[in-house]
Symmetry: C2
Subunit: 140 residues, 2 copies
Amino acid sequence: MQLTKHTDFAFRILIYLASTDEKLTRIQQLADGFDISKSHLMKIVNKLVHHGWVASVRGKNGGIRLGCAPGDVRLNDVVVLMEKTLDPVNCEEPLCALTSACKLKGVLLKAQDQYLKHLEEFTLEDLVDRKMIDVVRLIT
Amino acid sequence: MQLTKHTDFAFRILIYLASTDEKLTRIQQLADGFDISKSHLMKIVNKLVHHGWVASVRGKNGGIRLGCAPGDVRLNDVVVLMEKTLDPVNCEEPLCALTSACKLKGVLLKAQDQYLKHLEEFTLEDLVDRKMIDVVRLIT
């Protein structure tokens, strides 16, 4: 039940952008700082830009920055946007012979609701403090 | 945050054994009924036997059966036993440059606690009813 790399990296990018002093960050900076391939990062950043959490400025001196206030990014919404699926189990592959009578998925979905409900209490703002700002300064 | 196949298949096996009328079930029956390879099933069954939730009877007419009362198998314990890791994110691969100041993992761990706390309210017994018993009868 570990979060996917896709979600994990989205969190890393968002925390970084919420903590950096720089007005704009280049994708290459993030790729170097996080040791993640530029193409992988681009896919994640595009999704975050599309969602409005990240703003992108084109051109030679372009880059990306947070597209909203850190307090507007709820942690549950990041998980919901980035996870490939919110199905708690994959009953289809291989198709489970118990599916028609199974109550497990319902119980797991309610458990997942509790997980997301806890995350709803926090925003990106709660993850940024002086210590994080200092750490981010050291990366770039 | 989907459960791994390992956990998913453990649930399938446990629900099956808690619902079947047969005294002993052969691994081959489970492999056929669930369309899962026998070797994959063996690994999972061995773990469940080791934990005492499944009992194994050797010999020509041998097989497996539930090793305890269905009410003794809490659903959170199945997840904790079977998941490869309970780390909500993998900060080590690639090593995240933010780790020393990061508060995300702590928040995610608390969310996971809520998930497991919900599952703690249910046992295998809650997943077995007349409908499931009928479905399991049809498989074998």
